[in-house]
Subunit: 431 residues, 2 copies
């Protein structure tokens, strides 16, 4: 009989247990940190009304969306967590308290051509703070601390939280009287085409030489936050938007951020602070956590003005990158800390009782389904279970069980209380 | 400008923050218990190859499945977590350790006609223990303890874990030489059509009167587990399958289970122990957690024999039922335990520092984005935040902040250390 293909579809993936355990630990760090900063959970449907999801999409995005019709309904699968947030806030506006601080961790779907690092189903981990009418800058200032808390735990390699402000950029370009969008698009290529390339392209759109020089000089402003802010101040640009941006940038900058005037993050969406986070030793990875301030979340759905600030971590992609860079430390394949093996006839009850005691002390415990010692040991080794308790005939008679430390290979006969305290001490070290 | 419809589609739903918090707490209890019993997490794609998902489906199930084609690929959305598990185990058989104990918590999709209690997108929370070639009965015996641990925490109302064994039923019917499937289908209606109705239907399929009497007498065996087992023993039915089933039932029965010989749980899938869990005071809710033992998980995908035992909790439905029965206690709308309000000019820094101390002690904390006290208080009240710390001019000068307990209304001036210890003591009580 021909068996059916059991591989996942291209761009979709599933992990083996040790990887899944590592992935879930990363998810837990993100979730716990988001909650520590007082964000409330939000879980919206994966399937939405197509007209609602597609309202603002178009071009490349729209082509990537999974859409279908069933019965009389046009469905679409969400392709990010921001559009559903906008719809949710518009729908429940009167029931929510503002500023509305929500986190969302879930899968999103994009039917892109699958290639290295591109998944069609992947996790996004978002936070947003949405104000009603207004949102104080303290929200922007709080974000880097959240990013820092998360990546200090997730990454075994140094990272930098880069910030910039769109008002600074827009005000600067306005003060020069140049076409903002066209100019930014060209300056954005500085990394790729170099100074002379940018110069050439700016000349070709008819920009005067002195303006080109000013723009290139601006793009070369680097240094500590204090140095950059000082330089921006001494430019004495007489433009309100620039001044606003500079004041905002000064307030958001801190010892855990690095101002980087080259960051723009797309042309349309963000209107104030912007964030990117990069790995110092692996610049090729690009930004692992990005976001920024926007003037209005939900223009498509409501006439209320809902300014917000938010960031997104693309965890599936980050996980893959860390794996590729060999920065992912895989541990056990199971939460189980103790495997109890009832070897003796009638040891089942003793095994179940010990398991109950351990679980009552929050220690993940498994009773072996086999009474063959070599098989149980092989199982514990394969899964990375740190302790095995053996209950043989002698052990049962003396009420002392053999506790084996699977890492050191040491084993000793202990009573239940001693087993519990040994494992508990070790377990608390891990948590 | 016409705004777009922001309601979720019929059969799809999203929760308000206080509900979502309550739902997530329930999810966490289930997840933590599954891990405490040594189940490893598994997260398979929501979109699968249609041919893989539909291999065993048919009739009603197939009609309900969300299917579509994009490019050259036929996609289907998973409608349960068991079919993906079977596919996963077949695909990764050589990389897994057996018995393979996995839990899966995720959304599944069924395009049913939406009606009261029927969702098209809902959470299932499954565990399965899969053996290779064989699986010891200790696996079956462990399951009720897991169910008990979970629902003792989730439910404010008494529940009963009912068990039965398909070998007992099949062996009993075989010993009578009657058509098992037809008979079970009729006996299953006992609740609805009563004893005389069952008698009539069994007669109409041509069953002899003495056999009908034997079947009805069997269905009336109730009592404590010991009493039922004793009665089954005294029937002295000479059928190997019945004897096997009786031995299995005896081993799985315990002081947290109730044998119920009327439970069959469908006709095809289960082959040994079966489980149902019901609310004693609300029988109309039906089973909130069901499952059982099966001979072979993945016949469609692999020729390996993979016996298993598993259960599933339909959490979305249970949540709705508890809500309807008014058994759902809603608490806060946010994880935030402390809202810090920097009223004084320059109190922002002090607020951020205090927030950092609290967060370092794992207390979810928020710095208010407003410096208007009444607005902040209204916000804390609406979200159910238990503590507010106010940093005004006097407070800032004296380095003593006002800690207000939002439940009692009491407030006192305390230094940072005192604030921390007060809130920490309260927080530890909650956890």
């Amino acid at each position: 009989m021909t068996k059916i293909n059991t591989k996942t579809l291209k761009g979709f993936r599933e992990l083996l247990p040790a990887e899944q355990m590592a992935f879930n630990k990363m998810l837990a760090v993100i979730k716990n940190t988001y909650e520590l900063y007082g964000f409330m959970p939000l879980d919206t449907p994966i399937l939405e009304r197509a007209e609602a999801l597609l309202a603002k999409a178009g071009g490349e995005t729209e082509k990537q969306i999974y859409q279908f019709t069933k019965g009389k309904t046009d469905y679409a699968m969400r392709f990010d967590l921001t559009v559903p947030l906008a719809r949710y806030v518009a729908e429940h506006e009167r029931e929510l308290a503002f500023p509305f601080r929500r986190y969302a961790i879930g899968k999103v779907y994009r039917g892109e051509r699958p290639q290295a690092g591109r998944l069609r189903e992947f996790y996004q981990c978002d936070i947003d703070i949405i104000g009603k009418g207004e949102l104080h800058l303290t929200a922007d200032a709080e974000i880097p601390s959240i990013i820092h808390t998360i990546f200090s735990q997730l990454l075994p390699t140094p990272f930098t939280i880069k910030i910039n402000n769109r008002n600074v950029l827009n005000g600067f370009y306005d003060s020069l009287g140049v076409d903002k969008v066209a100019t930014m698009r060209i300056v954005d290529k500085l990394d790729k085409i170099g100074k002379s390339g940018v110069k050439g392209e700016l000349t070709s759109i008819g920009m005067a030489q002195d303006k080109i020089d000013t723009i290139l000089a601006f793009s070369e402003i680097t240094g500590t936050n204090a140095e950059i802010l000082e330089r921006l101040n001494t430019l004495t640009i007489d433009n309100e938007q620039f001044k606003t941006g500079l004041a905002e940038l000064s307030e958001v900058a801190s010892d855990i951020t690095q101002i980087d005037l080259s960051i723009a993050r797309g042309l349309d969406y963000y209107t104030g602070t912007v964030y990117e986070t990069t790995l110092d030793e692996y610049p090729q990875v690009g930004s692992i956590c990005s976001g920024g301030r926007y003037n209005d979340l939900a223009t498509t759905y409501t006439s209320s003005v809902l300014p917000g600030v938010g960031i997104s971590i693309g965890l599936s992609r980050l996980f893959d990158q860390l794996k590729t860079l060999d920065l992912l430390k895989l541990g056990a394949s199971t939460p189980t800390r103790v495997l109890i093996v009832p070897l003796a006839d009638g040891a089942d009850v003793a095994a179940m009782e010990l398991a109950k005691d351990l679980r009552n002390n929050t220690i993940p415990t498994e009773v072996s389904a086999t009474n063959k010692l070599d098989k149980a040991m092989k199982y514990a080794n394969k899964l990375g279970i740190p302790y095995v308790v053996i209950i043989g005939d002698d052990e049962l008679a003396q009420s002392k069980y053999t506790l084996k430390n699977m890492q050191t290979g040491e084993q000793e006969a202990l009573d239940k209380g001693q087993i519990l305290s040994t494992i508990l001490a070790d377990w608390q070290k891990c948590n």
